[in-house]
Symmetry: C2
Amino acid sequence: MLTVLSGGVGGAKLVLGLARAVPACELTVVVNTADDLHWHGLYVAPDLDTTLYTLAGLADPSAGWGLAGDTTVALDALAGFGFEPWFRVGDRDLATHIARTEWLDAGMRYTEVVERLAAALGVQSRVLPMSDRPVRTVVHTAEGDLEFQEYFLRRRAEVAITGIAFAGAEDAPPSPDVLEALADAEAIVIAPSNPFVSVGPLLALPGFREQLRQGPAPVVAVSPIVSGRALKGPAARMLHELGHAASALEVARLYADFLDGFVLDVADGEAAPAVEALGPRVLVTQTVMSTLEDKKRLASEVVAFGRSLSRRP
Amino acid sequence: MLTVLSGGVGGAKLVLGLARAVPACELTVVVNTADDLHWHGLYVAPDLDTTLYTLAGLADPSAGWGLAGDTTVALDALAGFGFEPWFRVGDRDLATHIARTEWLDAGMRYTEVVERLAAALGVQSRVLPMSDRPVRTVVHTAEGDLEFQEYFLRRRAEVAITGIAFAGAEDAPPSPDVLEALADAEAIVIAPSNPFVSVGPLLALPGFREQLRQGPAPVVAVSPIVSGRALKGPAARMLHELGHAASALEVARLYADFLDGFVLDVADGEAAPAVEALGPRVLVTQTVMSTLEDKKRLASEVVAFGRSLSRRP
């Protein structure tokens, strides 16, 4: 059993590769839910849906999020009612949000809701929200606090941030299913997701980081930073704004207390000794995933690397 | 100023004719909202939307409800999640429900919400929900109580009813806008809508029936029953199940205490003396509206008839 921790579009690429590199049913994906939002009364979970749609083979191949070929009839009509369509929801996508909202309102556990969605979409791997309780990423900026999607989409991540908080995290333990997936994994992979706003929320859950540190499974992270630039999204900018160098080494430093392995891109090979000095072993390889072949090849290498690492029993 | 009381598809036909027979901006439509429903967390108002879409020229010409050319991508996907699609909502239609829900949740008065929707859709007549407060039609049947849409759509009105109740009506006064539209009208027209579940809820609001009885404007109703059959929907069946004859005369009897004029179809001309014996004057004409011309012609005749009637000042 392999467990991967992931956020949205960037992480989902490796997740898809992993679902091809190991039997899909032996893969568990633990997904960030701190960028979930209420959108016109509906409960929307961008990272979970990106993961589900990607694993189902339904994701829009160009955007990485949303459903391939989806229409925006409802969204266009909402614009006609004066609602600014900064958050893009397609018509078929809307059904996912309606179903999730309905099931959550009926009192179903979030983990079960996602299990139902996954089954209906034909996803064979296990996809778990990080917690059954709500957590909300709040971005502190010079202009005041912003909800994550407001910062990320409406403001296009162009406001300088001064800090990040995860509201509710202290009351949101990882679900029993997540704890089991961490405890039972032969290896835990951290996808090349944003360390602050995608992986950060998981690490902020009570006991999560300790479980990574003390659990039996080796933990391998794939750097989301290549040549000082983020593979996707504002990770490099965030590192800089929060006082770090925008480098793969800095990401390894953020994870150093629980890390057994770190995957560096060939472009950053010279950082290997510095990363190894922090503790983890290093794999240097091609980490930029353009094609499905890239994803499968990187995933296979990451799995082999993870299996080669061992922890005290 | 002309005020028309209406329900859904059947009434909307005459409403459209009236909006062509008088200047559209001089027409106020007071619409039944007792068949409003919560659909997957969204606040849906079938009769109001039918009226708005019809007046905006956007209604599906074959169904009479919904939007012409609308798609059902979201609905089809919901079916994939196991939700039985007995209540048909199109994608563009969905935006109306999302906007309404959002505005109501923000605390906006229902009358203002409908005013906004009407303005965005380009409706020039005034469309008013009967009350700013919620009322819910409950259909008593041998199989137990049913919500109206459950009875009407899911069960296709094929369950025998034993009674009808309007939950919440006692706490739902007509809005100030409705009372003004009744007081200021030169004539009040009751569209050929179901007397029990379309017009009935309006009459159940505190003071509404008294206003029709005692107000200055003459009240003219167009029979929804022609030759013992309903023009649309289960009105004839309901008359029968509730112990009345399924006839235009019976409808006139239901309204007799406030009626100044009654419009009978030529097919029911022989009932004119019996209706007149109840009090109102009678106009016998073609009331079946197939084309827009039919609607305009009937509307013009009804307006002229209404204007010819007078009440003690």
